[in-house]
Assembly symmetry: C2
Homo-oligomer: 335 residues x 2
Amino acid sequence: MSSRLLVAAGTTRTASIDGISTAGADPSALPYTPSADADLLVYGRPVRAPAVPVSPSGCPTPAVVTRAVQELHDLQPTIVDAGLARETAAPTIDVGARPGGDIRDEDPVPDARRIYDSARDLAASLPDDHLVLAETIPGGTTTALGVLTALDVTRTVSSSLPDNPLDLKREVVDTALDTSPLDDVAFDATDRQDGIDTVRHTGDPVLATVAGLAAGALERDAGVTLAGGTQLLAAAAITRSLGHDGPLTIATTPYVADDDTASFRETAALLDLDVIVTDPCFDQTSHPGMRRYVAGEGKEGVGMGGALALAARAGIDMASVRQQVEAVYDRVIDR
Amino acid sequence: MSSRLLVAAGTTRTASIDGISTAGADPSALPYTPSADADLLVYGRPVRAPAVPVSPSGCPTPAVVTRAVQELHDLQPTIVDAGLARETAAPTIDVGARPGGDIRDEDPVPDARRIYDSARDLAASLPDDHLVLAETIPGGTTTALGVLTALDVTRTVSSSLPDNPLDLKREVVDTALDTSPLDDVAFDATDRQDGIDTVRHTGDPVLATVAGLAAGALERDAGVTLAGGTQLLAAAAITRSLGHDGPLTIATTPYVADDDTASFRETAALLDLDVIVTDPCFDQTSHPGMRRYVAGEGKEGVGMGGALALAARAGIDMASVRQQVEAVYDRVIDR
């Protein structure tokens, strides 16, 4: 059976709202994050991007973990340009996406439907039996909350910060909903809100891309694993809202699944998703980068949970994964 | 040692001149050829492109051979968008290229220098020890002749047709040179013609890309194999004209090396290129697709000669290669 890891990499201006994304980080560096993650996954180090993303406290991008699994497992990543704002040397598939706007403004993702359709057509045409779908987009949990709120699924998401700024996210989303023409319609009502409209007005281009990829794969009965946390829940909510009822699995980390602020399992159940949680046991290492995950930072992203699940299924033990994470970290992070 | 196959895929309006490219083929299909080749190399079949390119007489694109070697050798191709005119599902690296114009018109590749610089920077930054560089562009031997003529290297190139329409190509190139502001300066003169200027006025965006990739790799002492025929000679001529004197190898097929109209070995020697010729012995099969190559059609392209050289170096015998070519052909070509 052939699998392909597709990583939707994009941006939203929502990330530049003070306090939304990795607190204290240089805000001017945020637009480079998904481009740097793409470089890292494809080449094992930054090529066109200036540096591998690390938070001020030393938490490396979860792309380091995904890359480490690739190096043990020969998992080839394919990057989809879901609205990149800076250049990457990684080859990317075009779905017509541009960087997303701030969701407090009008029409932040005007091309949402075109992006969704392009991604759906792509996934429907790919030869792979199984697609593993992942994301990298700073500020993405806030836009995910926008979609989950607009679809009346849940009022909570996880965070890459140890202290989830959920009140701020809700405030941003409330402003977005006030600005938008969206109706106040429940997810499970007969006249459901159209998931693509919610992406257009309170979401981001990565959500449109991932939701479309999942829909296209389901249309041809390919397997789909959503590799990520609450952002992938939002993508699933969009796909479900459009009537795609096929089997979907979500593979995440314990840092998201056990995040008390996020209600991950409840939302996954509501969306009829099978859940896989794979613990890399970063508590069993003293490596400062991995210890930041134990402290509640980072948590998930760039396919980390899905990569860990693939490693576990391939019989790779987590001690080997941790050793390889350390090797990648030491190779690419300039402290 | 890590190798990467980089395929510069692009277009030139020069291909639409009657009689220049695969005679008798539907001219409206030509712009799809490089996109289809990219799909085939990456996914093993067309995904966004409508069909795998086949000439009216049944000669399949040489991408079928390169793909066959990939399937035996685990050679991952990376596609560079060197001016694609139709969408491909293959992930592509952006070097800022757009489709090239007809060289009989003014300024057919206005961005030649920017493309060259972007490709050079890319190759200078990639982590691979060795780059294998290839092309796919219909009409590419005519633009190659333009550059080789403007640089006073040679007045001949090969052809994907059994009967090389060399007189027509020379006529097109003479018109291009008349229209252009290029000086009539010899390649080996002290005041050499700038190779990038020749690309801009008588070349195509693929030549700018390949020449830049070769230059960037040479700058960091990476190995470079030019995988192809007379188009790769033109790329080498550009790189050499810009003062890059490092070691370059060109790997091609006997169909090009022994093409009496092309003076391949003489030109390679003039440009100080090491030559590898690998014979797939298509004369030892009765398969109609491969027999077209024995009849002088197709000859080379999309890295075919380089892929055959890699297969030979890896100890894969040519009977296995032919068997896999047949398997790919039967899988992807709808006759």
